[in-house]
């Protein structure tokens, strides 16, 4: 018998800035690479997804209306909180047999996208030289609520690479963490909760893809899907469900090398999650 029993943690869902248990009362075990159970997590249900979408919808409006400068600062603050939790994140990533340097790279990626919040409209938008007396310009606006399905490889860096471009643009999201290595996402949720990110902008669920992907696909409160590391069948399910309300879908096929800054750090990673609005106004009289 040990001298002192460790207090093991049960990780909960992250919805609307709070940490509720799944309404379904189900849990999953996470085992270390070498066998022993290291954590228990919630196995989210369809109802949890609905709650998360509701929270995201409510949060999205204010987040989109916040100044870009503020969104940039909030994301940078998140990077600061992640740096403070670096050891814990590294431990969480290691459970799934993590990759060296993943946490540091994830933090740097958040810093990268913090900087895009007040620049991407300049990179993606423009003034248009129409043939007539009109002032005409095109601005990107956030699409709304994005469903994010995360890869198993690089469970933290992959998640951050999918979420940061979505959130910096003013979208809210509902994230399904890596199924194989979900603990890092739960630790990240704690970093988010203690950053200045408004509750509901990022919601994180842990659970089974097979169970939840069809609901991500068909939920009408979700405006777009961002996914990586899903198989062909799950991709088809996502795209088929998306057709019902014409969600915008970005599935990374093949999954990129998440350590490749060139592939993962660009306004073209933000672009699938914006709507271009073109505004005309007469000028001259």
């Amino acid at each position: 018998m040990p001298e002192r029993l460790n207090v093991t943690k049960t990780y909960k869902l992250f919805i609307g800035g709070a940490f509720p248990r799944t309404e379904s009362g189900r849990s999953m075990k996470v085992a270390a690479a070498d066998g022993p159970v290291v954590a228990h997590l919630c196995r989210a249900s369809r109802k949890d997804l609905r709650d998360a979408v509701e929270a995201a919808r409510a949060a999205h409006v204010k987040w989109a209306a916040a100044t870009a400068y503020l969104r940039a600062q909030v994301l940078y603050r998140l990077a600061e909180m992640m740096e403070g939790k670096r050891r814990e994140l590294e431990g969480a990533v290691a459970i799934g047999g993590g990759i060296e340097g993943e946490v540091a790279r994830a933090i740097d990626r958040v810093v990268h996208y913090a900087g895009w919040a007040d620049k991407y409209p300049q990179a993606l938008g423009c003034a248009n030289p129409v043939a007539g007396p009109y002032h005409n310009f095109t601005v990107p606006e956030p699409v709304g609520v994005v469903g994010v399905v995360c890869p198993d490889d690089a469970p933290l860096l992959g998640l951050v690479s999918l979420v940061a471009p979505v959130v910096c643009a003013g979208n809210a999201c509902v994230v399904l963490a890596s199924e194989r290595s979900p603990v890092a996402a739960c630790v990240l949720a704690e970093a988010i909760a203690t950053s200045d990110m408004p509750g509901g902008v990022v919601n994180i669920l842990t659970g089974l893809r097979e169970e939840l992907i069809p609901h991500f696909a068909s939920h009408r409160g979700i405006d777009a899907i961002h996914a990586a590391g899903v198989g062909e069948e799950h991709r088809r399910v996502l795209e088929l469900g998306a057709a019902e309300n014409l969600k915008r879908v970005k599935v990374w096929v093949p999954e990129p090398d998440w350590f490749d800054d060139g592939a993962c750090e660009s306004p073209w990673c933000i672009e699938p999650f914006v709507e271009f609005k073109t505004i005309w106004h007469p000028s001259g009289s």
Partner: protein, 503 residues
């Protein structure tokens, strides 16, 4: 002439017999040649249909007379067209970009040179007023090719900082073979919207014009021959929805671009799910046009008319839901009534005509069903235009409804005809909420002389195109496309290129 009492407001009242302005007929006299029968345009040649599709008649909706027969594209025709496009792809994509540009410039020039012929043909085949096909459709189609031609050798500047893994320099690559399915409301212009950016980016195309309006697309195929465009770069397969389905489902297609109804757009999205085909959709709308009490009302009334009666209301971005601030509702409705009385409905080839023929018998029946539904649900129908209509052809008087509830079918569904639903609002907040309360998000109009207000409303409207103190303006440099269930992807402008490149 009667003398008006001094106190009465001075205005021309077009609505009364006494002051109605009559015009002498002013028919467009340019004659165009139409062959008795057309095949598909595949691999640079006009070919008789294979695979048993046969032919069907293209009708002039203003006379109900057949203009000619066109081919019904079969699976075999589509397959031949896709193979021709596939074969042409490497050479076209590999052509020096400057050379590609010059072909597209030539197409623009030939459209300009054949503009009157194309305008007359467009009007005969589709029923739109010659004034619009001559002044809007055809010049804009030429402008689209001209604008996009110049992009061909500048794509790296349209997508700065892009690269594919492992390469230091950004290759902006074409998507491949594009299947492009277009509607009947702006036949040549929609062909230009689809083909011009695709060609500029190095793609090859299989274009399917709508079954009621195939003739200008076939003329455009002739122009492709005239300018020496390499065989197979542009292919035109005519036919109905079955031909479109064959294109969507063909495994040799890399990208589908569709303009049409939301219902069909969703079916296409489902059909390409999991196939890896790229997709852009430009779909339906029920666009709000919002008039504030501090707007210039006379200009706004012109904007309302331009918004809903342009092209018989066969416009995906038509301003079909009119929201008028309560304090000016009566004034706006009265002025709209007077203005509408002066619209000339009739022979589309007459240069004075404002509202031409409804595109097809089927569409006329659809519009009539909606008008009946509006009346049945208790809205009040105003059909103020009393000009006599021709005996033959498909005609619909421009009209508007007052007393419309947001739940009424005429306030929710796309009618695609000259029918306007008029509603009122009290506060800007209410206007925004109601304007956004639709699954669509294609376009919106806002009328007010208050600068800060107009930009705040523009920011909060969920629509891809927002016209402030104007409506229904188009330009090749200006991206067009919707939010929400009005589709995704843009056409025109810098952002319109995105659907035709791999980065």
């Amino acid at each position: 002439m009667t003398r008006q009492a001094p106190a009465a407001p001075r205005r021309l009242d077009f609505a009364t017999e006494l002051t109605r302005w009559e015009y002498a007929a002013a028919p467009e006299t340019t004659r165009v040649e139409i062959a008795p029968r057309y095949g598909h345009f595949i691999g640079g040649e006009f070919a008789a249909p294979a695979g048993g599709g046969g032919h069907f008649a293209s009708i002039n909706p203003a006379t109900e007379q057949p203009l000619c027969e066109v081919a019904q594209g079969s699976d075999a025709d589509v397959d031949a067209a896709v193979r021709a496009a596939r074969d042409a792809l490497p050479a076209w994509a590999g052509l020096p970009a400057k050379e590609r540009a010059k072909y597209i410039y030539r197409i623009a020039r030939r459209i300009q040179e054949r503009a009157r012929e194309l305008a007359v043909l467009e009007t005969m085949d589709g029923g739109k007023p010659i004034r619009e096909s001559r002044d809007v459709d055809i010049p804009l189609a030429a402008a689209h090719f001209f604008y996009h031609a110049g992009w061909a050798d500048k794509l790296e500047f349209a997508f700065p900082g892009t690269r594919t893994a492992g390469t230091p320099v950004p290759p902006v690559r074409p998507v491949g073979v594009c299947g492009q399915i277009i509607p009947w409301n702006f036949p040549l212009l929609m062909a230009a919207w689809k083909l011009a950016p695709a060609l500029a980016c190095g793609n090859t195309c299989v274009l399917k014009p709508a079954e009621t309006t195939p003739l200008t697309a076939l003329r455009l195929a002739e122009i492709c021959v005239e300018v020496g465009l390499p065989r197979g770069v542009v292919n035109v397969v005519t036919g109905d929805g079955r031909t479109g389905a064959a294109i969507v489902n063909h495994p040799g297609i890399d990208k589908i671009a569709f303009t049409g109804s939301t219902e069909v757009g969703k079916k296409i999205a489902a059909a390409v799910a999991g196939t890896g085909k790229r997709l852009t959709l430009e779909l339906g709308g029920k666009s709000p046009n919002i008039i504030f009490e501090d707007a210039s009302i006379d200009q706004a009334v012109e904007g309302i008319v331009e918004g809903i009666y342009f092209n018989q209301g066969h416009v995906c971005c038509a301003g079909s839901r009119l929201f008028v601030q309560e304090s000016v509702l009566e004034e706006v409705v009265e002025k709209l009534r007077i203005r509408m009385a002066s619209l000339r409905v009739g022979d589309p080839l007459d240069k004075n005509t404002d509202v031409g023929a409804i595109n097809s018998k089927q569409q006329l029946a659809t519009i009539r069903r909606y008008v009946e539904a509006g009346v049945a649900e208790g809205a009040r129908l105003h059909e103020v235009n009393g000009h006599p209509l021709p005996d033959r052809g498909y005609w619909c008087r421009p009209s508007f409804f007052t007393g419309v509830q947001p739940s009424h079918v005429i306030a929710r569904e796309e009618i695609f005809g000259p029918v306007l639903a008029v509603m009122s609002f009290r506060t800007p907040e209410e206007a925004i909420t109601r304007a956004n309360n639709t699954p669509y998000g294609l376009a919106a109009g806002v009328w007010t002389d208050k600068g800060s207000k107009i930009f705040e409303i523009a920011r909060r409207l969920k629509a891809g195109v927002v016209w402030l103190n104007t409506y229904n303006k188009f330009d090749p440099a200006s991206p067009f496309g919707g939010f929400k269930e009005s589709g995704f992807g843009r056409e025109g402008g810098l952002q319109g290129l995105r659907g035709y490149v791999r980065i």
